[in-house]
């Protein structure tokens, strides 16, 4: 301790001490005003890094919650579309049973077929439904492509893919928010072997396939799962020149029908199946027949329409078989859709529980964040009043001491 203090030193020190005390007071006041203990990283470097991390986690959590909201509304939209499909199918079942009654006239059956047609169109519209952005709900990743195209009453093409969209709902889990039309509406066990038909995209003629049916199930089952190609040859291959086609097995190229003459609408049958081609096929056009044990919903309804419609050639035994087949298919369809709806419900409940857990973690993070960042107000206010007392004492004592001078006494 120096025992000699120069006057300038006393004044300088007084001023700097006062300004330091004042700065302390203002810093505390700033903390109280912002409510935060850590205003810049320098205030508490360790806490600052943790705060940045927690804030990022919090932002992510908000994002996950909004993902969950979006996923819920998407799943609910799908669920309501599926419910509409289920309702339509209930009507199909009623009409099928009704049409199976032997007492109906062909006019009555045709009326049923007409109603079935409107149900089928409704189903087609549901399968091709879109969300608010105009994306098709059931076409997998091909949201810009109409998934179901009708080629004839019972022939439909699926143009989507098997894509299923996932959305992140927490740092560790994702949830599926879409199902493809193929898995929902097409890949359904038919209960027996049947076949699909399609015309190649490279076809230049306008011919299409209709009235497809398995007429001899045992014979068809024997050749199953053989696939077939129907290829239209050059008209000059036969004399006189006329449209003609060749049916061959896909696996080994065996020819089943060679250069058969084409007659529009006439049934073509081989290996237990029967189908008709109508329109004007061009040379080189290809129609593919694929054996399968699956049958899509639209095809199931379409075959019913063809079997009961005005132009049907089915006898009563054939109709009975058709009704029995359809009922089996409807059972499988309902099972498939029921499974899909259960899965949607399961996803919705997963979303709910995930949201709840995210929110409770959010509360914990919030409190941790507040512990790190926020000010203990009681402590800060008492600190402020203490600093105030000190500042005032410093000011008063300075004023008192600075008034003392020997010159006051030299008179």
């Amino acid at each position: 301790m120096v025992d000699r203090i120069s006057s300038l030193q006393f004044f300088n020190q007084g001023v700097s001490t006062l300004s330091q005390r004042f700065a302390d007071t203002v810093a505390t006041q700033a903390q109280i005003a912002s409510g935060r203990r850590v205003n810049t990283a320098a205030d508490d470097p360790v806490a600052a890094a943790r705060i940045l991390q927690l804030e990022q986690e919090q932002a992510l959590r908000q994002q996950y919650l909004s993902n969950i909201d979006n996923a819920s509304s998407r799943i609910e939209l799908q669920d309501s579309q599926l419910q509409a499909v289920v309702d339509d199918l209930a009507r199909v079942r009623v009409l099928t049973v009704q049409a199976g009654s032997g007492t109906l006239s062909s006019a009555n059956r045709a009326a049923i077929a007409t109603e079935l047609e409107s149900v089928q169109q409704d189903l087609l519209a549901l399968f091709n439904s879109r969300d608010a952005d105009g994306e098709y709900l059931f076409s997998g990743f091909q949201g810009g492509t109409r998934p179901f195209e009708q080629l004839s009453t019972s022939v439909f093409d699926y143009r989507g893919d098997a894509g299923q969209r996932e959305v992140q709902i927490s740092s560790a889990s994702t949830i599926l928010v879409s199902d493809s039309g193929q898995s929902l509406f097409v890949d359904i066990d038919a209960g027996r072997n049947t076949f699909l038909s399609s015309s190649a995209s490279s076809n230049t003629g306008d011919a299409g396939i209709f009235n497809t049916s398995v007429v001899d199930q045992p014979l068809f089952d024997q050749a199953f799962p053989e696939d077939y190609n129907i290829v239209f040859n050059s008209p000059s291959d036969v004399t006189p020149a006329a449209a003609n086609f060749t049916v061959s097995q896909k696996s080994d190229g065996r020819v089943l029908l060679a250069n058969a003459l084409y007659e529009a609408g006439e049934p073509i049958s081989f290996n237990g199946l029967e189908l008709s081609i109508s329109g004007n096929p061009a040379e080189g056009d290809v129609f593919a027949i694929e054996s399968t044990n699956k049958q899509g919903i639209l095809t199931t309804v379409g075959k019913l329409i063809e079997g009961f419609g005005a132009g049907s050639t089915l006898d009563s035994a054939g109709r009975e078989q058709l009704v029995a087949n359809t009922l089996t298919s409807l059972d499988n369809i309902e099972e498939n859709l029921g499974f899909a709806q259960a899965s949607l419900g399961g996803r919705l409940s997963t979303l709910d529980t995930t949201a709840a857990s995210l929110e409770s973690i959010g509360i914990i993070t919030d409190s941790r964040l507040s512990e790190l960042r926020d000010l203990d107000l009681t402590e800060a206010i008492s600190r402020l009043s203490f600093q105030n007392v000190i500042l005032q004492a410093a000011q008063q004592s300075y004023a008192t001491v600075s008034r003392i001078s020997l010159f006051n006494f030299i008179r």
Binding site: G144, Q164, Q168
Partner: protein, 881 residues
Amino acid sequence: MPGLLNIGLSGIRANQLGLTTTGNNIANANVEGFSRQRLEVGTRPSQFLGSGFVGNGVDVQDITRVADQFLIDQLRVDTSRATASSLFRSNIEQVDSLLADSSTGLATTLDNFFAAVQTGVDDPANLPGRQTVLNAAESLASRFNLLYDRFTSQSSSVDTQLVSASREVTTLAQGVAALNQQIEQSLRQGNGSSPNDLIDRRDLLLKQLADKINISTTTESTGAINVFLGSGQALVVGGTANQLSTATNAGSNGLDVVLQQGTASLRISDEVTGGELGGLLGFRNEVLGQVFNELGRIAIVLGDAVNNTQQLGVDLEGNLGQSLFTEINSTAAATARVTADFNNAQPPDRELSVFIDDTARLSTSDYELNFVGPGDENYIVKRLSDDALVASGTISGGFPVSINEFDGLRIELEGGSFQQGDRFVIQPTRFASRDFDSVINRPQELAYGVPISTGSSLGNIGTGGISLGDILPNAAGTAIGVTSDGTIQPPLIIRFTSATTFDVLDNSDPNNPVALVPPLTNIPFVPGRANSLFAEDSGLTQVRSDSSGLQFASAVNGFPAETITITTTDAGSGISSPQSLAIDANTSARSAAQLLSGLEGVVARANTEVVLQVNDAGVGTNLLSLSLNGEDLTDPGLGAVPIPVTADFLRDRINDNANLQASGIFALSNGTDLTVRSTSGEDLSFAILNGDAGDTLNFTSSNGSADVGSLAVGDVATVGGVLEVDLAEGAVLESTVGRFAVAEPSALAAYRGFQAELTGIPQVGDEFFINAGTGISDNRNAFILADLQDERLASNGSASIAEVYSQLVSQLGARTNQAQISDQANSALLQQAQANRDSVSGVNLDEEAARLIQFEQAYNASAQIINVARQLFDTLLDAVG
């Protein structure tokens, strides 16, 4: 009484001077740097007058200044420290608050960007959602640019202050030199009395000098003070002063401090630690450089990761994604990373640029490329953060030369006269946050989809499934598979030829799928687990062996003995390791494939196929009798044999034969043509054991190529299979001529750039498809994009982007905190030093008041002595008179 009068006079003179000195002290009480002065008086030598020594009064000896040189020096040192730490602190606080604040830092915009990408995951086709991503990318880019600008302006304000501080140092040094001269002169003139005011003024100038830069001093016997900077560079010597100025430095870090000593100029930036200059330089070197580089690194890592992901994806219009942010290795950016030292030899013709090959390994350091000699071709690369030697070598040979593989960087020397002594500063990350920009304008161009779409045939009977498919790294522009515009070409169909084998075919014409080049057939499938379709080795090649053709009158396939050598060259080290395999004559393709697959880096498959017609005249006495690989195909014991024998009959016999089935041999028939295949590459050996003359087997092709020949009764014909050999990256197959028609059969690229997996239990005839993806409802790539937020992309895969940033903020916070503490300590020390100096040299008014009274009283008393002397004289005169 002349003695008494003289004594009184000497007292008056001394005390008058005392009053003047005190008055001077009072008058200068508030003058900075003034040292209080004291009158030094001494008793006059007394006179021996017989009765003893009689006093003679007082003598004024000197007016001295009260000062302690140690305290003055200490004050100077503490001033340097305190100014440096206070400037350092105020500058770092600006950076700290800029980066840590959520409204000016990077964290919020980074979070916003990834949050916007998440909306793409939720709803990839939503255009307003995509626009949000573009807006967020835009504001992220402008935040990077803004931070760069702010730090640049801070850097240029540092430069401005360096310039003005250097000028002031020069002025002050000139002042000190001038004072040195005056003091020397005054000391000579004053006969040893010190020129107090000049010395005070010089001390004040030295303190102001210490406020600008750290100095050390020595005092000459003549009274002059020499001033030195840093490690002993002279600023003032006696009456001459050197100049301090600034000059641009190598690299782009702003100005250097330069001391001009006559014609020589010394760069002393590294020596300056104290004062204003020390604080500014310290801030620039320790803080600003690191902040620039760390921000740049974040920009590079983020930009590169986002761009790479974008480029693997497909946008809303079905096109391959483009970079969302500025390319990190654009020509402009690559050249800007190098600055040539201005001392490099003329002409300035060196062309070189720096590319970043691996952002994960990128550091925040700057580097230096030095041509150290001997000769012009030897160079070393040094990392400046720790002075580590990271690369060295020679550039002998022509340009271009690349200096590879240190910290993820690659230096390309394109040309110019590189010479010994050349020096280049390399700043890989410095400018990246300036160059960071968002370059996509249309929301449709965000590539949220993956350009691969898979599907299964509606006619599938088994329970097999195909995964959604992934694009692999380095996919674009693969020779086969992903085209340069990123679409999958040709579309593929996967067809199961049995429950455990499948073919992958070109499905360009869905009515007639054809084999791929190179072929991908008879791939084994393990039911019930995930089977990857393609190899993921981007250097994979395939070599196909040739067919021996049908060997008539032979029970063996006719392949000669041969030696196959596989030489694998490691891409990194260039070391080649050969593996040799001797294959005996007539070995079946199946055995050869097994042997080859035993070698490292080799996967071999084999298959055999032959097409024939059976020509059974069916009329003679002898029934046609046939065998395949020793199995009797016309054994009547197994059921009736038709006459004539048909292709269908043989097909059924072959397919029903358990031994043939075990060898993977099966047959197809279309009624006339019989196709016999072995999926494992067994030899197929046909014999007509018995029959009529004219009964023949007519062959039309073997292993896919026309091979016409006829087998008569009693004959045997054999065909061997072909090998498909997959070679890992760097592997080359050579062979003595045999199974391979040439010694070095050409290898075809087999890496497709995408992958899909087959699962479940498919059945024969089941089909799966792989097509180009359109990306409309596909969110898979958006998913990957969103995942980049948490992915550990930086620091060799140890930190995510957000973590790197929070590390920067916390390091900076810690540094700021430390700067605040040391600033407080240094200013307390300065106060203490100032107090110490002031307590010795400062004027205390009370003390001076007391002195005033003291001297006044003594003066009065001295006057009284004269009065007494006068009265004594008068008394004496009266007595005499």
